[in-house]
């Protein structure tokens, strides 16, 4: 994102909207620090930030690699070129009743790197994928744009180009047999100590016939108490996949 120095009057309206603290005003001109800017697009949306001079514009280079990586992982309004899916990840639980992506006896794990608020670099994201790969988790969700940036999925390694980038968030997604849950959670707790950001952790599973959540006891024994709010797929999709 770019601020036209001729047009800007230094009113400072745009500054507080930037989730990456990339905008500063000095000598009555606002500037964007390109290293900090994650290309989320917020400051350039005229319906959000009412810049009185229309001084904030998107540069064309934002759609060219490597800058485009920031754009596609940070701006929810930009469609991923690789997957044609808007947003950062996949349909995960949202269509599980139709896709059968996560079946009985399995759990889907999503690691939302950089969420909430802090953002993440691919160097940190790679620390997590490498730790998972060492545990034998090398099949990452095919439809997730992050998987397309891997140079060596067997070792959880990203391309050099990706590793130069910071993004608002990127989601590591995979499915494992429920028996692997304990080891995977232990791995994630360990690698969490090594990263310079946060991740929000998600677990997707089928519900039992009576509506109860099958992994609750297992999670309790791992010392994890899920939040009281969750996202529930009501099973209204068709054709319904009862797998």
């Amino acid at each position: 994102m770019h601020i036209d120095q001729e047009k800007c009057i230094g009113c400072g309206i745009c500054v507080s909207y930037c989730p990456a603290n990339a905008i500063t005003v000095e000598n009555r001109k606002a500037r964007i620090d390109a290293g900090k800017c994650l290309e989320c697009g917020t400051c350039g949306r005229t319906r959000v930030v009412r810049c009185p001079r229309g001084a904030i514009t998107e540069e064309e280079t934002v759609y060219q690699r490597p800058r485009s990586i920031r754009k596609y992982f940070s701006d929810p309004m930009a469609y991923h070129v690789e997957t044609k899916v808007p947003g950062r990840g996949t349909e995960e639980v949202k269509t599980n009743d139709v896709t059968g992506r996560v079946r009985r006896g399995q759990v889907g794990i999503a690691i939302e790197m950089g969420r909430p608020v802090l953002g993440a670099s691919f160097v940190d994201i790679e620390k997590v994928t490498m730790a998972l790969a060492r545990e034998g988790i090398t099949t990452f969700e095919r439809d997730n744009p992050l998987t397309h940036l891997m140079a060596d999925p067997a070792r959880g390694i990203f391309t050099e180009e990706a590793k130069q980038c910071r993004v608002v968030s990127a989601i590591i997604e995979f499915t494992i047999p429920v028996e692997m849950l304990e080891r995977t959670v232990a791995t994630l707790k360990e690698v969490a100590k090594e990263i310079d950001t946060v991740f929000s952790l998600d677990l997707i599973c089928r519900l039992d016939e009576n509506g109860s959540i099958p992994v609750m006891a297992q999670l309790e024994s791992l010392g994890i108490k899920p939040r009281l709010n969750a996202k529930i797929n009501l099973g209204l999709g068709k054709p319904l996949k009862e797998v």
């Binding site: 507080s16 989730p19 603290n21 989320c40 917020t42 949306r45 319906r47 959000v48 929810p76 309004m77 044609k84 899916v85 808007p86 947003g87 990840g89 349909e91 995960e92 639980v93 949202k94 269509t95 009743d97 139709v98 896709t99 996560v102 999503a110 939302e112 950089g114 969420r115 909430p116 608020v117 802090l118 608002v168 968030s169 989601i171 969490a192 310079d196 950001t197 946060v198 929000s200 952790l201 998600d202 677990l203 997707i204 599973c205 519900l207 016939e209 509506g211 999670l219 939040r227 009281l228 709010n229 969750a230 996202k231 529930i232 797929n233 009501l234 209204l236 999709g237 068709k238 319904l240």
Partner: protein, 208 residues
């Protein structure tokens, strides 16, 4: 993509906060789903959502209209809507169930409340996405008070400095809680930021 999952706050406050997503599965039942979604959107508008928007248009708080949201539905159309009332969510689910659209529906909210609602409607939920919390450098996160607002936009578009500035604005009497909540809602493009919940949370900052 799990942007409605990690909303933080007390159970009392989350009891009045629901996000409904209607999502056709890409490559399976997205063909011809746009008209179904337009019918659903009409019903939602009659019902009166707290917030609604789309990746294509932004939200009602940034100036999008129902006509615009309907007209700009993409090839993989989705409905994202936020309610503060369980009764409204129930009406919407009942409508979608009766019409038998065959599109996937997820509701984010307190597990007991959503499951109770499904039972009342004779629906057997299929799967769940649980939040196992935030890990890593949690000491770098803003305060829990600020996070309650920020996590209502799961995409991370609402900055901590905007939230702090608006809280200050309410304290100083420059904004009403409602006005500050609407201002906070604008960067969230898909419309799941709950302005009514935010206004209630902001009300505690009004100087007596």
């Amino acid at each position: 993509m799990t942007h409605s999952l990690h909303r933080t706050g007390t159970p009392e406050s989350l009891r009045e906060d629901y996000v409904v997503l209607v999502t056709p599965a890409v490559g399976i039942n997205n063909q011809g789903s746009q008209d179904k979604l337009r019918e659903i959107l009409d019903f939602i508008f009659d019902l009166g959502p707290t917030n609604i928007g789309s990746y294509e248009t932004g939200t009602i708080f940034s100036g999008a209209t129902i006509e615009e949201i309907k007209a700009k539905l993409s090839e993989t159309p989705r409905v994202r809507v936020c309610f503060s009332s369980k009764e409204k969510v129930k009406h919407l689910i009942q409508f979608i169930k009766e019409r038998d659209y065959g599109l996937s529906v997820t509701v984010s909210g307190l597990i007991d409340e959503v499951q109770g609602m499904a039972r009342e409607l004779g629906i057997k939920p299929h799967s769940v996405n649980l939040s196992l919390g935030v890990h890593g450098k949690v000491e770098d996160l803003p305060s829990p008070e600020v996070l309650e607002f920020i996590t209502m936009c799961g995409h991370g578009m609402i900055s901590a400095s905007l939230v702090k500035k608006l809280i200050e604005g309410v304290k100083e009497g420059r904004y009403t809680p409602e006005k500050a909540a609407e201002e906070m809602a604008r960067p969230c493009v898909c419309g799941i930021f709950n302005t009514e919940r935010a206004a209630k949370l902001l009300a505690k900052y009004v100087q007596k």
